[in-house]
């Protein structure tokens, strides 16, 4: 599809959008401060722009249009009420630095969300400010760092992560100045306890763990793991990318974790927006409470107020200019109020039911579970190693062919330790009919892989584009549009060049 810049015509504009009348002169701003070359933005009418971006939207899969069994991403339905209510004019118009007496309605939502997250995670205190999961991880590991430093244990420079961990775990540890040590996983998908015992010691700052793990199984010896790490003087970090399988069933705090982050854009149904925004609140046990990032919200006698650096001198500090992704927090708040007390455990029940059902059906259809002796949690892994070897059709090929069947692909090639894997997470909001249709699609692709493998290897065939040349994308970097040879300037060239584009 053409680019918005290619629709641009000099002198065209959406006039209603900008201030009326002749632009005022900024004659008090000396020339040396002024822009020399006009910003190269496109010149379009409102109908042009509306049609262009509406059509672009139609070149996307989305949860509103497609099933997204994307493991570890929790693509559940995003309730419309949450969006509408977070976008009420009063919330949108509120300036982040408005005084507290003009912010009580907003602060009440935040404080109640803090309290609800405390209860759901079983932690002593929560800060809502991290803007996404990775920032929540940063906050968590920075708190672990602050804790050890305050105790004078500066030799604790190592963070342990399982080899199946999300890439953000080791990346976060590095950002916080730690070195990373990987712990292997055993054949049943649990952490290798002997290797863990071997690894812990006076250099251990902490262990980062997801439970249920990214292998889609519950880490059964979690209390033992917690004891090993704690006895070595380390702390336990819970990567709560996803609580879907454990809501109301078991809590990170009760498992012995010292710090947890929660991805609200997963468990609590806020939209992914094509890559964000998310929100990654952090919860902590009592010993880490002084280090929580600011701002937080406090309540006294029905009045709400901000808690900032001034009264929390040991805080790790601030992670963004204001209070994080407030609008995402409001959406999660609405979702939690709609679910209520009983609704939480029902999420876990149905997410787990759907995952185990889909696993059983895929197994019946001839696919191989990576951990056949284990229950699925909210997600599970199948490995297409045999299909790749015998039929020459890889997990990537299956993934691309699923797109032709109208299903978004599951997470592929993650975790790295299971070859040719699909990490599949159906979530609780899908009906059994959808799951059955997915199984039928997988069955059909498997049949095709046996009879017409070329069709699978070259999929997709029905989308706006075929497979992409990724190598060229990385080698011949084209990251911003430039006009073709012969055209002058950009979409909106400096005024001197304008005549030449006139035709």
């Amino acid at each position: 599809m053409e680019l918005i810049f290619e629709r641009s015509r000099p002198g065209r504009a959406a006039r209603a959008q900008a201030p009326r009348g002749a632009p005022p002169a900024a004659d008090d701003i000396p020339q040396r401060f002024r822009r020399r070359r006009r910003a190269p933005l496109p010149e379009c009418s409102e109908p042009d722009v509306v049609r262009h971006y509406t059509r672009l939207s139609q070149r996307n899969f989305s949860i509103d249009t497609h099933f997204y069994p994307l493991g570890s991403c929790t693509m559940k339905h995003n309730p419309r009420a949450a969006n509408r209510l977070a976008m009420l004019p009063g919330f949108l118009a509120r300036h982040p630095l408005a005084p507290e007496d003009m912010s009580q309605g907003f602060l009440a939502c935040l404080w109640e969300l803090q309290e609800m997250l405390k209860e759901v995670t079983g932690m002593a205190a929560v800060s809502l400010t991290p803007a996404a999961g990775a920032q929540g991880e940063f906050a968590g590991v920075a708190m672990i760092r602050a804790y050890h430093r305050e105790r004078g244990e500066t030799e604790r420079t190592e963070i342990l992560v399982p080899d199946a961990a999300h890439g953000t775990n080791p990346a976060t540890a590095t950002m916080c100045g730690f070195t990373v040590r990987e712990i292997p996983t055993d054949a049943e998908g649990d952490i290798d306890l002997a290797a863990l015992r071997e690894a812990v010691g006076p250099r251990t700052a902490g262990l980062m763990l997801t439970n249920p793990s990214t292998l889609g199984v519950f880490e059964r010896r979690i209390t033992e793991i917690a004891a090993i790490v704690h006895e070595a003087g380390g702390l336990l970090y819970y990567d709560g990318a996803n609580l879907n399988a454990i809501l109301g069933k078991v809590r990170p705090g009760d498992m012995g974790f010292d710090v947890v982050h929660v991805n609200l854009h997963k468990t609590f149904a806020t939209p992914h927006g094509g890559g964000g925004p998310g929100a990654g609140p952090v919860g902590v046990s009592e010993r880490l409470e002084p280090y929580l990032p600011v701002p937080m919200v406090a309540e006294e006698g029905g009045e709400y107020r901000w808690v900032t650096e001034a009264e929390r001198p040991r805080t790790i500090g601030r992670l963004s200019a204001f209070a994080g992704n407030a609008g995402v927090l409001l959406r999660a708040y609405v979702y939690m109020r709609l679910l209520g007390r009983e609704g939480m455990a029902r999420v876990a029940d149905h997410a787990t039911l759907n995952a185990n059902y889909l696993l059983a059906r895929l197994r019946e259809a001839g696919f191989t579970p990576a951990y056949p002796n284990r229950r699925a949690s909210h997600e599970f892994i199948i490995t297409l190693r045999r299909e790749a070897k015998e039929l020459g059709v890889t997990a990537m090929d299956f993934a691309k062919r699923l797109l032709d069947h109208g299903f978004h692909a599951p997470t592929t090639y993650f975790p790295l330790l299971v070859p040719e894997c699909f990490l599949i997470e159906p979530t609780e909001t899908e009906s059994p009919e959808t799951l059955d249709a997915f199984v039928e699609a997988m069955r059909a692709i498997l049949e095709e892989a046996r009879t017409r493998p070329e069709v699978v290897r070259t999929a997709p065939h029905t989308l706006p584009v075929r497979r992409l040349d990724e190598v060229r994308a990385a080698r011949e970097l084209d990251l911003v549009w430039r006009p073709q040879e012969g055209e002058a300037g950009g979409g909106a060239p400096a005024s001197g060049d304008r005549e030449r584009l006139g035709a």
Binding site: P19, V50, G276
Partner: protein, 467 residues
């Protein structure tokens, strides 16, 4: 129950297929001693109607004051089409575009965004967003240190004229990596860094940060500062307001060679004030620094049939590939906000954005003249060119003034004394194109009355005194 489609019959049939008697059996791998055997202590579920009523009451409770506060969040008009389109389910509920063939809409949109923001900043490349302006600056600092020649410099000059919350965020994020942030003070009379009074360049200098307009709304001598830093072998990180950049020289045009990295807050481009977020941070750079950039980057390529197509590229920088050696841990960014900003920039175009910038500046000039006419109130840096906000010295405590103005449905600005005690009782005040002459007149009238009333009970404060 909300959002779960299963009938009782569904559940029965599914359990049968799995081969268990009840749902509880699916949790049998969780050790009993850690199971939660009581209901969560949470409120009971509300219906959609009930939660709507609750949220409407709360949203209304906070009122909708006429906003003269800025300090990093600006009340510009957002065209109706922006969020009408951005909240279409196909954009709003899409995942990160890892499956390129199923995400060409989002990917092309991000490529258009990168083009627009890089053009606006007069830089060569851009990423697809970071969390907000403050965290974008932190990432820019890390990037500058990584890019440092001969791997030496770990010192970064971070002037006091940079937004205080940005400085604190940078400190939180970069200090674990042993980067030293060095403060530079400002000229008390002019509210900007004096390029003539810069310290000896410290050893191991990696970068200088310059915010334009700075936190006081004043215009820094960006050309001289950029040339100074380059002379001392340091990179320049420009923190720019993207609306102001339609009129003011963008970082890429500073000095002889231009800044090396531009970072900032994208909120003024189509994102409502919304209590501070979600906004989005942008990050642009010279092409030679692209491999040091954090976050997602979209590239244009071709598909198997030679058709133009878009994909996430240079992923070998990122955490899901490079793990502990990634340029950053960032994964989820602010995709939807960038979607809105792209539509916003396309609607306004170069002329519209320039008009918004010029009108904001004109309203701010009118506002400053009107407020400074109130006895006892005076601009702090009257001689320095400014864009759309400015600090005022007050004859009464800023908090008292804000409370009194709040009673008149006016949000009068943001107090400065907490971060700049040397300025005494002072207020940072802003006007955008959305403030009308009537709004401005009303603010001046209320201010005059409040100050006069204050005079009855307090010794008059001599203008310019105290502080």
């Amino acid at each position: 129950m909300p959002f779960v489609p299963h009938t009782e019959d569904d559940v029965r049939r599914m359990l049968e297929a799995i081969g268990v008697d009840d749902v509880e059996a699916l949790f049998d791998e969780i050790p009993e001693e850690i199971r939660l055997r009581r209901p969560l202590e949470l409120p009971e579920a509300l219906s959609e109607a009930e939660v709507t009523r609750l949220m409407m009451d709360r949203a209304e409770r906070d009122g909708r004051p006429v906003c003269f506060a800025g300090a990093g969040a600006y009340d510009h008009h957002v065209p109706a089409a922006v969020w009408e389109i951005a909240t279409r389910g196909e954009l709003y509920t899409a995942y990160t575009p890892y499956q390129a063939e199923a995400s060409q809409g989002t990917l092309q949109l991000l490529y258009e965004f990168q083009t627009m923001i890089a053009g606006l900043m007069a830089m060569e490349v851009a990423n697809a967003s970071l969390y907000d302006g403050a965290s974008a600056l932190a990432e820019a600092v890390l990037m500058a240190v990584r890019a440092g020649r001969r791997g030496g410099g770990r010192r970064v000059l971070l002037p006091r004229t940079v937004h205080p919350a940005y400085r604190r965020t940078v400190e939180t994020i970069v200090s674990p990596q042993g980067i030293e942030l060095v403060e530079i003070d400002y000229d008390r009379r002019r509210g900007v860094i004096d390029p003539g009074a810069l310290p000896e360049a410290p050893e191991g200098l990696a970068a200088l940060v310059v915010q334009q307009p700075n936190h006081f709304g004043c215009l820094e001598e960006a050309d001289a500062l950029t040339d100074w830093a380059h002379r001392h072998g340091a990179l320049v990180i420009g923190v720019a307001n993207p609306v102001a950049a339609a009129v003011l020289a963008p970082p890429g045009e500073w000095g002889e060679a231009g800044a090396d990295i531009a970072a900032g807050e994208g909120q003024p481009l189509g994102v409502p004030l919304s209590s501070g977020g979600p906004y989005f941070g942008f990050l642009c750079a010279r092409k030679r620094l692209v491999r040091q950039m954090p976050g997602r980057i979209v590239g244009r390529t071709v598909d198997a049939e030679g058709r133009t197509a878009y994909t996430l590229t240079l992923q070998a920088r990122e955490q899901h590939i490079r793990r502990s050696k990634a340029t950053s841990n960032i994964c989820t960014n602010q995709g939807l906000m960038v979607t809105a900003a792209t539509i916003h920039m396309a609607l306004l175009g170069p002329d519209g954005l320039e008009r918004v910038a010029l009108a904001s500046h004109a309203r701010a000039r009118e506002l400053r003249a009107a407020l400074a006419a109130v006895p006892g109130v005076e601009p702090l840096f009257p001689e320095t060119p400014f864009f759309h906000e400015f600090p005022l010295r007050l004859p009464l405590p800023a908090r008292d003034l804000l409370r009194a103005l709040g009673a008149q449905n006016v949000l009068g600005g943001v107090p400065l004394a907490g971060d700049y005690p040397e300025l005494g009782e002072s207020l940072l005040v802003c006007a955008t194109e959305t403030r009308t002459p009537e709004d401005i007149a009303a603010y001046a009238r209320h201010l005059e009355r409040i100050v006069a009333r204050q005079g009855l009970f307090r010794c008059p404060t001599r203008p310019g005194g105290g502080g």
